[in-house]
Amino acid sequence: MTRFLVKRLFSAVLTLFAVSVLTFLMFFALPRDPVTGMCPKNCNPERLERVRDELGLNDPLITQYAGYMKGIVTGRDLGSAQGGHCDAPCLGWSYVTNEAVSDTIARVLPVTLSIVIPAAVLWLLLGVGLGMVSALRRGTWLDRLAIGFSLTGASLQLYFVGAVLLLVFVYNLRLLPVPSYTSILDNPVKWASGLVLAWVSLAFLFSAIYARLSRAQMLETLSEDFVRTARAKGLAKPKVYGRHALRAAITPVVTIAGLDVGGALGGTVITETTFGIQGLGRTAVDAVRAGDLPTIMATVLIAAVFVVLANVLVDLLYAAIDPRVRLR
């Protein structure tokens, strides 16, 4: 177990390292100069060059990379153009928003968390619930309804659903306020009402996938010997389904859910764009467009951390749910 964790964490760190190096290289392969965006209209080449020098963009790649990594670990001095000293973990200074990237992240990360976590709870409950019900009530109208729902959901796209929901509930019926983010600590009601459309549309699409998955899984489990045995032994239905079948059926769901949530935490660009909420995803996309290296690095790394962590967690959960799995 400890051994597994150590091994897994080592591989995770290696992954993050590789991601950071690749992103860095990717950025410098881009035919885009972050500096030109900084002085519009009448900028002259000499001045651009000085700005590049000041930002260290003329240093060798390795020096720049080492500087960035050193900043994360020990903090570093960025020079007066970038807000002076930057404490560890220093994610750098954004060329575009003119603030420490850690401030940017501190602002947009809660937004993405607020979108993804409730949505994930919703889609898991809805998806797994629907899947279970339609598996247990196989062949009934309930089952058909659930299948129809999930197939429709799986065939629709978020921007489409989002646009229609916005039009109907916000612009036409005016039942909901315009989607926006308010901290849950400031005003939980506003927080919820501002994000509910994002949750619902995410949940609709994702739960469709989970309903399909958990239904299939449940059906397979129900036909397995141990469930039949348990039923034959006279265990009550809810007990069998609840304790035995559900547990077995949910294992693959957990895997996929973990990866989905991990991925979504890295940014839900389409959702954020559709509803006009500035989260991690849009910040990342904006940063790429603007050639804002420090912000690109930070958003990419955070997204990668979520994915990698989700992977580890899924493995652990998997072992917790299914004792047959041995952690190596």
């Binding site: 177990m1 400890t2 051994r3 041995r326 190596r328």
Partner: protein, 375 residues
């Protein structure tokens, strides 16, 4: 009867001890009758699987822990024992599906213990395996023809008259309709599938076939057909077999020599008649006594072994059987008994071997019938 057995046992034990002193080391022990050059010669064969236990640490499962035996051309050697005693592991090592941890395997005098795929290639033709599960051992996506032709194809052999003719010939040999060449395994019954598996093993005209519980997954009524087929093939084609089974009756029907395994060791090896009629190791006796229709034992009747098989992770010291042996003494815990030849090709690993026949009356030829079993 038991009394006389006891006497013989006393004597043999003494003899055994004196021999041990003279005839160390172990590997020098001749455990096979020294007739022709053996086809297969196995010495000190062992397989240890590393497993992780608990939160940390690694330990070894000693699945097979030092086997010595020979198989002569055309001979059938039965390998019997309870589940988990290492029979199957041994079988797989013989055909090199598993890499042995220690020991040597010689085939026709060549050491093949660690031979690579390329070096093994010529040997593959002489050394084949039949699997236990007739359902899992045939590729469901291939036609019977392809399955049987696979070894030919893999080894790039173009038999005279073509692959198809050879496959049909093989189908006929194993008693299947050659016209079924193009069918798929799922269209056959278990017995027929096992015949296909046998045909595949025969495709390369091997000299030795390792048959890993070839009939245990089959219906009782079918088992007989398959075993009889194997016996006939063995006679007709002069095949040698290593026949792995937990079913003593089948082994008795099929094998000329029998090796009894317990926890990764051979405890007794000898000719069929010797093993079945004069078993000397307590474990062999216990096994034989468990056969319901060989209950014409003397006093004591059926020997019931108490306790579970110890874990191969941590086998008992000394004699591995001592924890369940009714005759265990102190020495059994401290000293591991060596496999000692007792003439006539029989060898036992026991400090206190039994002697005398188990069931004299039932000796001779096969005696078990379906009617008897169903009692």
């Amino acid at each position: 009867m038991w009394g006389s057995l006891g006497e013989r046992e006393e004597r043999s034990a003494a003899e055994y001890r004196s021999r041990e002193r003279r005839q160390a080391p172990m590997s020098e022990v001749s455990v096979a009758p020294s007739a022709a050059e053996p086809l297969l010669r196995v010495r000190g064969l062992a397989k240890h699987f590393p497993v992780r236990t608990g939160f940390r640490g690694q330990s070894l499962v000693r699945a097979v822990d030092g086997l010595d035996f020979d198989v002569r051309p055309g001979e059938t050697l039965g390998l019997v024992g309870e589940s988990g005693c290492g029979k199957t592991t041994t079988g797989r090592m013989l055909v090199r599906l598993l890499e042995p941890t220690a020991g040597t395997i010689e085939f026709e005098g060549r050491d093949i213990t660690h031979a690579g795929r390329r070096q093994l290639r010529p040997l593959r033709q002489d050394l084949q395996i039949i699997f236990q599960d007739p359902y899992a051992s045939l590729n469901p996506r291939h036609t019977v023809g392809r399955i049987i032709a696979m070894p030919l194809q893999v080894n790039g052999i173009e038999p005279p008259g073509g692959v198809k003719a050879r496959v049909q010939e093989l189908l006929e040999i194993v008693g299947l309709n050659p016209e079924h060449y193009n069918r798929y395994p799922h269209e056959f019954s278990g017995g027929q599938r096992q015949r296909i598996g046998i045909a595949r093993a025969l495709a390369l005209r091997p000299k030795l076939i390792v048959a890993d519980e070839p009939v245990s997954a089959l219906d009782v009524s079918i088992q007989a057909q398959v075993v009889n087929l194997l016996r006939q093939l063995q006679r007709d084609l002069e095949l040698a077999f290593v026949f792995i089974a937990h079913d003593l009756a089948v082994v008795r029907h099929f094998c000329q020599r029998v090796a009894v395994m317990y926890l990764g060791k051979i405890v007794e090896i000898g000719d069929r008649v010797d093993i079945y009629e004069r078993p000397q190791h307590p474990y062999t006796r216990a096994l034989l006594s468990a056969i319901p229709d060989v209950t014409k034992l003397g006093p004591g009747g059926r020997i019931r072994l108490t306790g579970d098989v110890p874990t191969p992770l941590d086998p008992p010291s000394g004699c591995r059987f001592r924890t369940r042996c009714w005759k265990a003494q102190e020495i059994c815990a401290t000293e591991e008994p060596a496999l000692v030849s007792r003439g006539g090709g029989q060898a036992i690993a026991c400090h206190f071997p039994e002697s005398g026949p188990v069931a004299g009356e039932s000796g001779g030829t096969a005696g078990v019938t379906v009617e008897e079993v169903s009692k």
